[in-house]
C-alpha cells in the first residue's frame, strides 16, 4: 500500500534576487518537491516576497571576461505554478515593501498572516528556507 502523500507548507523567508548565482538556492531546493511524493504549498514571506516579482531582470554581463551569473526566480516560480504547486505571498509583507499583488508572477495569490497561521495548522509539515 502506498504511504499517504504528506502535505508540506514550504515558507521561503529570504531573498537576494540580484545575487550573482545561477539559481536561488531556496527556490531550487523547492523545485525538487515537484518530483517527490508530497503535496506542497509554497509561501513567500518576509523578504521572500521579493522573489515573486514578475519583472526582475538581471543582466548577466561579464567581469574581466568572465560571465556573471544571474538567478531569475520568476522563471522558477512559473515552473512551480505550471507544475500545480500553489504559490502564495504574505500580504502584510507585500504591503510593507510597497509591492502590489499585481506586480507578482501571475498565479501567486496573496494570503494574510492569519491565513498562514491556519495553513501551518492544516499541513503535516512546515519547513522554512531562506536564500
Amino acid at each position: 500500500m502506498n504511504a499517504p502523500r504528506p502535505s508540506v507548507l514550504s515558507i521561503v523567508r529570504g531573498a537576494d534576487a540580484g545575487a550573482a548565482r545561477e539559481a536561488d538556492p531556496a527556490l531550487d531546493a523547492n523545485a525538487y518537491a515537484v518530483a517527490d511524493e508530497i503535496d506542497m504549498t509554497l509561501v513567500l514571506k518576509d523578504r521572500g516576497v521579493e522573489l515573486g516579482l514578475d519583472d526582475i531582470r538581471c543582466d548577466r554581463g561579464t567581469l574581466i571576461g568572465v560571465v556573471i551569473p544571474a538567478a531569475e526566480p520568476a522563471i522558477d516560480l512559473r515552473a512551480l505554478l505550471d507544475s500545480g504547486v500553489q504559490v502564495r505571498a504574505v500580504a502584510e509583507d507585500l504591503e510593507a515593501r510597497g509591492i502590489a499583488p499585481a506586480a507578482l508572477v501571475a498565479g501567486i495569490e496573496p494570503v494574510t498572516e492569519a491565513d498562514l497561521a491556519r495553513m501551518i495548522v492544516e499541513h503535516d509539515v512546515t519547513l522554512t528556507t531562506s536564500s
Binding site: P6, R13, G14, A23, D28, Y32, A35, T126, L127, S130
Partner: protein
C-alpha cells in the same frame, strides 16, 4: 526527560520569525525514520541554510549534538550559505567531521550538501553531495523537520 525536539523553542522561533522554524513530521515511515525507530530515539531533519558563523548555525550544531546525546538520529541538508559549514577550510568543518566520521552508516548524523553549489567541492570526508530530492525525501521520512534560516 524532556525531548529537545518537543520543547517550545522551535515553535516560539517560528512565531517570532527568527532562527529556528517549524516542525511536525508527517509520520511517513521511510527508511530514515524506520532506522531511528529500530534503534533509539526519533529522526530529526535540519534544513540548514545559514552561514557558518551565524548564530542559528551554532544553535543548530549544538542542537544536533544534544539530540545525538539523547539517542536521536539527525540528518542535515545544507544548502545556500549552509554548504560552507562542512567545507574543509572552514572552522565549523571540525564539528561536521566529528559528527559524520567517514560517512559510516552507524553514525547518528548524516550530512548532505546541495551538490549544485560550487562551494561543495571541498567538503570534509563523510559529507554526501546530493540535491533537492534528498531534502524532500528526508522531509517525508523524518519525525521532526526544522528549517534553520537567518
Amino acid at each position: 526527560m524532556s525531548d529537545p525536539t518537543q520543547t517550545g523553542a522551535s515553535a516560539e522561533a517560528a512565531r517570532t520569525g527568527t532562527g529556528w522554524s517549524a516542525t511536525v513530521g508527517s509520520g511517513d515511515p521511510g527508511a530514515f525514520a524506520e532506522a531511528a525507530r529500530t534503534g533509539t530515539g526519533r529522526s530529526i531533519v535540519l534544513a540548514l541554510g545559514t552561514a557558518p558563523k551565524h548564530g542559528a548555525t551554532v544553535a543548530a550544531l549544538r542542537l544536533a549534538h544534544e539530540a545525538v546525546q539523547r539517542g536521536h538520529q539527525v540528518a542535515v541538508y545544507a544548502y545556500g550559505d549552509g554548504v560552507r559549514i562542512g567545507a574543509d577550510s572552514c572552522p565549523t568543518s571540525a564539528y561536521v567531521r566529528e559528527f559524520v566520521g567517514e560517512g559510516d552508516d552507524d553514525r547518528p548524523v548524516r550530512w548532505i550538501v546541495d551538490g549544485s553549489d560550487p562551494r561543495t567541492s571541498t567538503q570534509v570526508p563523510g559529507v554526501v553531495r546530493g540535491d533537492g530530492s534528498d531534502l524532500w525525501r528526508l522531509v517525508r521520512e523524518g519525525d521532526v523537520v526544522l528549517g534553520v534560516t537567518a
